[in-house]
Symmetry: C2
Subunit: 397 residues, 2 copies
């Protein structure tokens, strides 16, 4: 154990710059200050100002989504995606147990119940084959609507999360959703800059959520966005995220229970500058992933997680996975690397193990997620960790 | 009608600077730039950085609250206040029908039901006498808990909103809450800088919410805060607003359904600079109110709304109230002033009239709120509309 931890720490030291290395840090070297200063100079920091519109247009252009609606953070975006997917109180929503807690919380905010499913070791996202077999055993369709036979609750949506930026296998998941009358929502919080078979993640589901938290590939301080190709859903998303106020010169009337989920203009200003830098960030991060891949190629007992064959990933958060049987080395590895100033972390505690979600419905076998949880560690991934564009990444998504 | 509208417009023109005058605009003339630039230079724009702690300390010091917890906006703050007040699914929460929609929405986010009560023409806030009489007729106490006899639902909290910055009459409202086993929560979104009998609004209720939206007396782009004097509630408020993550060097475990309600560091940086300027803003706004008061003193048919006798208000949003019988002049007055470039607006559409809340429980007589709604207009109120400190406002709260 000591040897493996020491060897891995040495490899990381060779790839990374000297000194303390964070897991993920933002990089501001473009127009960030110019745009933010413009907000302060004009006084337009909040709900007035041009940067929100511009940020939304840039997001739509980059991702290819027809509509992008900026929100105050990714959790808020996912909450509104679920409401617009028709999720209501006491519905169930299928989500991976291997995800950040925001995925499950957004379901709870709707008064609905998360229903946990297993992941694939190839994608780290929801496993389509296992999901299909499970639904065949578990649900019934009545009038085109999917019901959990055990709980009697309606299953309204499936949330697919693109773990650490790696796209889940969306085509078979979309097929399952069509067959079972379930709406596909993408939690693309981690996958801005990641493509599935040439299409940007977040553009295949009915609705998708992005995040621009401080640890993401681009940041607005805190922020998120909803993507959709449906004009009416886009209109409703904007309406719900801005307190559902009916436009009027002076009157304050609201026609729905809406949210104060608007992204402030000053945060959008930061986002506009960050999006200008995004293609460069993706190339740098892919370059770093190539360096890691090469550095760990010869080592037994552990492997560097590489994008699935159908994907071009942003490699948001790089991951090492211990081979089965080496689970016992995980905590020693976390200790050794963090003590060496190289920040690492394990996967999230699985959702079905958190006390507030342990009574929720779930697959009886969540073995792959459980195995990944015991074996995975994330390693430093900031775009600033490589000096320039990598020669490995000339092709496009 | 034409004459009254014309006269009022002329008076407003005399008080206000030439050109288009907004209802409320922020003012950035202190350290806003310096602090925001520091965030960008250090890369600490999001969940890392010193400005959130500093902003919270400044808020506690200014208001006299023992604890302040910064949040992403005022609605988020109120939502968490209600959860910490014990509001659960299918409870009822008493709120004024005369308020901004966020008050009612925060109740809905808990899965609870708003229950609308009337306001006082003296304070524009909840009328204690009317509330007391209503509760005597409407509720029963079982084991110290208040229940609505008509609906059978538990009444858990009363939210008092300090309308346009003017403090509600908190002492008798606190007494009512004690008697009926209801928790008092203050919606102090509009009243930063306003004092009730020498104590800052938001420090008398069990929990209180502040807002720093772009139209407020100080702004963080978007932002809010929770105030409380209870150390355990403060700890829980910080925990719930930061995804209820259990502190650990690397592990991601959460023990409650929490929220991504943290204020980003870059927004807190703006807030720190704005709070430095707050005492000056309050004095300017009180100076503007004095100018309005003097200008409208001789005019019949309408009066300038002045702070209640027990209050020292921030005069966040100044208001004119037509005398009863003059309701028919309101829309003409809104037209005339807005057409003259002087932004004005009526009170919010009352909550019990909004379609999503019209079936909620309410006092059968909401006559004062209804009358105020028909007669009130808000007039420009930015701190920048007076040049310097007013001689009228030398005393302190």
């Amino acid at each position: 154990m000591i040897d493996l931890a020491r060897t891995i720490t040495e490899i990381l030291k060779n790839v990374l710059p000297e000194g303390t290395v964070a897991l993920h840090e933002p990089k501001f070297s473009g127009n960030e200050w110019t745009y933010v200063k413009e907000c302060l100079d004009t006084g337009w920091v909040s709900s007035v100002g041009k940067f929100v519109d511009r940020f939304e247009a840039q997001l739509a252009e980059y991702t290819g989504a027809k509509h992008a609606i900026a929100t105050v953070n990714g959790t808020a975006a996912l909450h509104v995606c679920l409401r617009l997917a028709g999720v209501e109180r006491d519905d169930e929503v299928l989500i991976p147990t291997l995800t950040f807690v925001a995925t499950a919380n957004a379901v709870s905010y709707c008064g609905a119940v998360p229903h946990f499913v297993d992941s694939s070791e190839i994608t780290l996202g929801v496993d389509p084959d296992k999901l299909k077999a499970y639904l065949e055993d578990t649900v019934e369709i009545r009038d085109g609507t999917c019901f959990n036979r055990a709980t009697g609750r309606r299953i309204r949506a499936l949330v697919v999360m693109h773990t650490f930026g790696h796209p889940a296998d969306l085509d078979p998941l979309l097929e399952i959703c069509r067959r079972f009358g379930i709406t596909l929502v993408e939690d693309a919080a981690e996958s801005l800059g990641s493509f599935y078979k040439g299409r940007h993640t977040g553009t295949l589901g009915k609705l998708s959520a992005l995040s621009f938290n401080g640890n993401k590939i681009v940041t607005t301080g805190g922020g998120g966005a909803i993507l959709t190709n449906d004009a009416e859903l886009a209109r409703l998303a904007k309406h719900l995220t801005t307190t559902a106020k009916i436009p009027h010169r002076w009157s304050f009337t609201h026609d729905k229970i809406g949210y104060n989920y608007r992204l402030p203009n000053i945060n959008a200003a930061l986002g506009c500058a960050q999006l200008e830098a995004l293609p460069g960030f993706v190339e740098r991060k892919r370059g770093l992933a190539e360096k890691y891949k090469a550095a760990f190629a010869g080592l037994g007992g552990i492997r560097f997680f590489a994008e699935p064959s159908f994907a071009r990933s942003n490699y948001w958060l790089n991951a090492l996975i211990l081979e089965p049987g080496n689970e016992r080395f995980r905590d020693g590895l976390l200790d050794a690397t963090n003590e060496a100033g190289i920040m690492t972390r394990p996967a999230w505690t699985l959702m079905h193990r958190l006390e507030m979600y342990e009574a929720c419905p779930k697959m009886s076998d969540l073995g792959i997620a459980e195995s990944i949880e015991r074996r995975l560690i994330n390693i430093p991934s900031s775009a600033s960790l490589v000096d320039s564009f990598s020669p490995f990444t000339g092709h496009t998504g």
